[in-house]
């Protein structure tokens, strides 16, 4: 918690030059795929609708990663811990969604109004379940180790992740489970300039964007949001202000878990298959998004989520889906080389 030692060997002007140069390199790096394929599309078909479709799909996929990534970043920001069980919290969100559809008897036959009400109720259920689960994880696995060396909670985090995977395994078995395609997610909702926007895309953005806006407003504007920011910057100073740091940490896990639960619902509706291992993959991708954007920074997590969504879609569609993980991580490595703190990084406690 002491101010970290910043290497002072290089002169600051040189560093600034590198930072400024780095920024342009980063922007160029991020634009290279869309620009290259955009030119290719234009020369072959005379329009950009294929690239447009990639971007729309990337946006809706990225929305899921962004929601999960915020949970990583919030928790890291406040207690400097990678909550490895976070992917599983997302997975449980999907499972609760599937279970809840059955419980309230929601089927595709419900009609638009029934479907809307049913989905809103399911969203609340998923957010509540994942939020509470995340709070419990912190209570059981992290809080008792608050004063312990940093490796200790890291390993209990990995342990929690395995435990929850096994819960998923017992719940729905070891193979992917198809669930009802309630919203006919692949059906085209509307077409704009040759770009098809599906029901799934609309759902993903209609849930994600308001949630992210609400969440930013909450952290920026409420008393609890202030307490979260203060605790993230200096827990002992926060205590001296009269902030209950334990409660604040619990609330942070609650918020992160709720967003992961919402992502779980979107994922279930969008993919229409769920299984116990989905949290591992999604967790890894979302964690990558959080690091890419600058861990500890909420805007960074959202940005990272959307960027990875785009890269994945472009790679799936153009390079081949077996290359996608390699392409994503190549991007991560390149970004880290030019900006080790991530795209919007440096707003973490060590840097402060």
């Amino acid at each position: 918690m002491e101010a970290a030692t910043v290497p002072l060997s290089r002169s600051t002007s040189l560093r600034r030059l590198r930072e400024a140069g780095g920024r342009y390199v980063l922007i160029a790096l991020l634009l290279v795929l869309p620009v290259a394929y955009g030119i290719q599309d234009l020369s072959q078909t005379g329009n950009l609708s294929r690239l447009g479709n990639n971007l729309v799909d990337g946006l809706s996929n990225g929305a899921i990663w962004a929601l999960v990534a915020i949970g990583y970043t919030l928790v890291y920001g406040i207690i400097e811990l990678i909550n490895f069980a976070h992917g599983e919290v997302f997975m449980i969100g999907s499972f609760v969604a599937a279970g809840f559809f059955g419980t309230i008897g929601l089927t595709a036959a419900a009609g638009p109004a029934g479907l809307l009400v049913g989905l809103v109720l399911t969203l609340i259920a998923c957010m509540a379940a994942s939020g509470v689960l995340n709070v419990m994880i912190e209570r059981v696995a992290y809080r008792p180790l608050r004063g312990a060396p940093k490796l200790a909670p890291l390993i209990t985090a990995v342990g929690m992740s395995f435990i929850l995977q096994n819960v998923g395994l017992l719940w729905l078995g070891g193979s992917p489970e198809g669930i009802v395609d309630l919203i006919r997610s692949q059906e085209v909702f509307f077409t704009f300039a040759g770009v098809e926007v599906s029901n799934g895309d609309v759902l993903a953005l209609a849930v994600t964007i308001p949630l992210i806006l609400l969440m930013t407003a909450f952290i920026g504007g409420t008393r609890l949001g202030k307490a979260m920011r203060a605790t993230a910057q200096d827990p002992d100073a926060a205590r001296l202000m009269g902030i209950n740091v334990d409660t604040t940490i619990s609330m942070t896990f609650l918020l992160g878990g709720m967003l992961a639960g919402a992502a779980g619902l979107i994922y279930a509706l969008y993919q229409t298959t769920i299984w116990y291992f989905q949290g591992f993959t999604a967790g890894l991708i979302a964690f990558t998004a959080a690091v890419m954007g600058g861990i500890g920074n909420i805007k960074g997590a959202v940005l990272g989520g959307f960027i990875i969504g785009f890269i994945q879609q472009i790679s799936d569609n153009r390079i081949g889906s077996s290359w996608t993980p390699a392409v994503v991580f190549a991007y991560l490595v390149l970004i880290m080389v030019f900006k080790p703190s991530g795209l919007l990084g440096e707003q973490t406690r060590e840097a402060g």
Partner: protein, 233 residues
């Protein structure tokens, strides 16, 4: 107002306070001096509940607060400007001050903020600036102002002169004296005893976790041992 009875505080197995007793009366300014590692900060951290003592009593207005959590201690009227200032680096001056009033819901917060700006005009000039971009002296003013925003009955100050240009130290000490004159009781911790013994009524000398000497500040200033060890004369 505040009484410490033989408190013993530990960091793991290390006993940092080996039985400290002291008292502060309403309206007083009391100082605790001692060299680096003597246990001064640990004493203040024990009072604030950050590192509660394992043994002993801390009475505040007669009530034992030794095991009361930090946020309740602030609510009871004890606030602290900690060692190293610990301002919220990425918040503005005004946001930092408002964090100091975190537990308050009354209508006089604005008036109190104005009062802090009166005490430290420099803070008003910088009110939109991020704390992290200010000098050490300015951050020290902010830390004290932030602690004042809790409207404390007892103000704990941990080494307000540490790492600050002498001219600013003088200004800060004038303000500390002023805060005390206006009625806030102060317990002041210092390594550099020159200023501390100047503003305080009484003093305690701490050595390796024990109080070794206590007297009126004016007498402590005349004490040859104190002069040699803490006054650099």
């Amino acid at each position: 107002m505040l009484e410490l009875h033989d408190i013993r505080t530990f960091y793991g197995n290390i006993e940092a306070l080996k039985g400290v007793s002291l008292s502060v009366d309403e309206g007083e300014c009391v100082t605790l001096i001692g060299s680096n590692g003597a246990g001064k900060s640990t004493t203040l951290r024990s009072i604030s509940g950050l590192t509660p003592p394992r043994f002993g009593q801390i009475l505040f207005h007669g009530r034992d607060i030794a095991r009361v959590p930090p946020q309740e201690i602030v609510r009871l009227g004890i606030s602290q400007s900690p060692e190293g200032r610990r301002c919220f680096q990425r918040m503005s001056v005004q946001e930092n001050l408002d964090m100091g009033a975190y537990l308050r819901r009354d209508k006089e917060i604005d008036a109190d903020r104005a009062h802090v700006y009166e005490l430290f005009p420099r803070l008003q000039e910088r009110r939109t600036q991020k704390a992290g971009t200010m000098s050490g002296g300015e951050q020290q003013m902010l830390a004290i102002g932030r602690a004042m925003m809790a409207r404390p009955k007892l103000l704990l100050l941990d080494e307000p002169s540490m790492g600050i240009a002498p001219i600013l130290v003088e200004r800060i000490y004038e303000t500390i004296a002023e805060i005390n004159r206006q009625g806030t009781t102060i317990l002041l911790v210092e390594q550099n005893a020159n200023y501390a013994l100047g503003v305080s009524h009484r003093g305690y000398v701490l050595e390796t976790g024990r109080v070794v000497l206590t007297d009126a500040s004016s007498s402590l200033r005349e004490n040859p041992e104190v002069q040699r060890a803490y006054l650099g004369t």
